[in-house]
């Protein structure tokens, strides 16, 4: 009977539980540590920039004046990328999840996943050699016919290497990310709710608006944020595709620059204070992603009550 008692026995087993949960906790903390180490590294290396006299900083009038156009440029590039990639990406995801025939949809999903893996150098090389030359004509046309809109003010770039081109390349790069993530979420929409909508006499699009999109909202936001992360931090593609320069409203003229590309272009020859400046720019980029994430979380949490997580 004692062997059947609920007392004792299993001290060893309990230890297993402790050890395992300890290890998982450790892994989590390791990630935090790495992140803080990265932040500390950035701060430490960037410090000379913040203490140096402002005349010594590139541009000669302090770090803020130096970084401000870069921040704006980064935001413009990412914004163009997302403005294009978000609707198109969601469209493609919906196509795969709800419109395409099954067999086709699976292989399409596969192809899209694959595209996420094309190295950015390749996208950059493609943007530089194929896309940019192809866009010169349209840019000229825009400058002539829509030049009164500030973003299309001419004269258009004759190489096609402009912010708009860079934005398009970034859009192509983040498109697979947004598509593959949102597709998975669309596919997970409870059949229950889809059928509820259809049974009510909803058309396919009405069903999507009633059941699929609301369910996928937080997921779409996360996917866009992930895409945004890539768009903000992308180095090589922008460096190869953009004719960089100072801040300028027109998107079809040479000009503007992103933080990541600025780092990549100048890092090899940088030393001393310049190096520290570039790392400070990296720190700023880091802070931007942090802020973006905070905003995203806030948006998602604002709608918790109606989130469908029940």
């Amino acid at each position: 009977m004692s062997s059947k008692s609920i007392q004792g026995a299993g001290g060893a087993g309990r230890a297993g539980d402790k050890v395992f949960s300890g290890i998982t906790l450790l892994a989590g903390c390791l990630i935090l540590t790495v992140l803080f180490a990265v932040a500390a590294f950035l701060l430490w290396q960037a410090l000379p920039t913040f203490t140096a006299p402002s005349a010594d900083i590139s541009g000669g009038s302090g770090f803020f004046t130096y970084i401000f156009p870069l921040v704006i440029g980064t935001v413009i590039a990412a914004a163009i990328a997302l403005l294009i990639a978000t609707p198109v990406g969601i469209g493609v995801a919906l196509f795969i999840s709800h419109y395409a025939p099954r067999r086709l949809a699976q292989s399409l999903g596969y192809v899209v996943d694959l595209l996420a893996a094309i190295p950015s150098v390749v996208y950059g090389a493609w943007g530089m050699t194929v896309l940019a030359p192809a866009l010169v004509g349209p840019y000229n046309w825009l400058a002539e016919n829509a030049g009164w809109i500030p973003i299309f003010a001419g004269p258009a770039s004759q190489t096609g290497k402009t912010m708009l081109t860079a934005g398009v390349v970034l859009a192509v790069m983040v498109l697979p990310i947004i598509t593959s993530l949102t597709r998975e979420i669309f596919l997970q929409t409870p059949k229950l709710h889809e059928e509820a909508a259809l049974a009510m006499g909803a058309t396919r699009w009405e069903m999507i608006r009633m059941a699929v999109l609301p369910f996928a909202r937080p997921g779409i936001i996360s996917a866009v944020m992930l895409g945004l992360g890539r768009a903000l931090g992308e180095t090589m593609a922008v460096a190869l595709v953009l004719s960089s320069g100072g801040l300028i409203a027109s998107l079809i003229r040479p000009g503007n620059q992103t933080i990541a590309a600025e780092i990549a272009l100048n890092f090899p020859e940088a030393y001393g204070l310049r190096l520290s400046e570039l790392i400070a720019a990296g720190l700023v980029l880091f802070v931007i992603t942090l802020i973006v994430n905070v905003i995203a979380r806030w948006i998602i949490s604002r709608h918790k009550e109606f989130s469908g997580a029940n």
Binding site: R102, H193, A196, L198, M210, P214, S307, G308
Partner: protein, 259 residues
């Protein structure tokens, strides 16, 4: 608003698999018809062909005719979307839209056809539908809260309110009470009793007592074995099916001696 359903020689397929074979059945307006039968015999499948929800599944198709007051639902040029707005459906598990408030859930179907419904009309409709679903009193002061905050039975009644808000002619229910407790079940059964005066109601149930309590006519479906198609075995007045069925299998099933 109630209409007659007349099914003629219906075969239902999932791809190549014949799930339900050769069903012919007539359901009268202003009556409740119950479908009973062992699991997998095709009750849900058949029910879903009555408002063309079946074809939502990939590869699913149908042969035969389903006439709604003489008009074939599967006739050429018939739009399934229109069909479904005439024939409402309530599912086994309550499925209010989680991102919508109770009010919006009720109005979901209505807003599809009539986007510019005035606030007061909408309010009236919400009250009427919720009252029709016996839910008004319980939710009147939290119409703007999410529908998913209700209890299971309340959610199911909300789904019924949503279905009747578009004033369909027929309401199909697939085991509407199987996820509910007895009190909620009773509430729904009472509701079905009331709905009967306005709609043609078809209900699938596993609960023989329930079938006996709520339905006017009962259809017994059966299946010869796994992989075989389901068939309609007997269809008659509920009292006949439960007390004096003409087929042995029916008697075995309703008396729990099946197997």
């Amino acid at each position: 608003m109630s209409k007659r359903i007349d099914v003629k020689g219906l075969n239902v397929f999932y791809g190549d698999f014949l799930a339900v074979e050769d069903v012919s059945i007539k359901m009268e307006p202003r009556s409740v018809t119950a479908f009973i039968g062992p699991s997998g015999c095709g009750k849900s499948t058949f029910l879903r062909t009555l408002n063309r929800m079946h074809e939502v599944l990939p590869g699913a198709r149908v042969e035969g005719e389903v006439l709604l007051d003489g008009e074939n639902l599967y006739g050429p040029g018939v739009d399934p979307v229109t069909v479904r707005s005439h024939i409402g459906m309530v599912f086994q598990r309550p499925n209010p839209f989680p991102t919508m408030s109770i009010r919006d859930n009720v109005l979901a179907g209505v807003k599809l056809n009539n986007k510019r419904i005035s606030k007061s009309d909408a309010d009236d409709l919400v009250e009427k539908s919720l009252t029709g679903a016996n839910l008004w009193k319980e939710v009147r002061d939290r119409l703007d809260k999410p529908g998913s905050g209700l209890s299971g039975g309340q959610q199911q009644r909300l789904c019924i309110a949503r279905a009747i808000a578009v004033s369909p002619e027929v309401i199909l229910m697939d085991e509407p009470c199987s996820a509910l407790d007895p009190i909620s079940t009773l509430a729904i059964e009472d509701l079905i009793e009331e709905l009967k005066s306005d709609y043609t109601v078809v209900i699938v149930t596993h609960n023989m007592q329930q079938a006996a309590r709520v339905s006017d006519k009962t259809a017994f479906f059966n299946i010869a074995g796994t992989g075989k198609p389901g068939k309609l075995i007997e269809y008659d007045d509920t009292t006949v099916i439960f007390n004096n069925p003409s087929v042995k299998a029916t008697e075995d099933y309703v008396s729990g001696r099946f197997g």
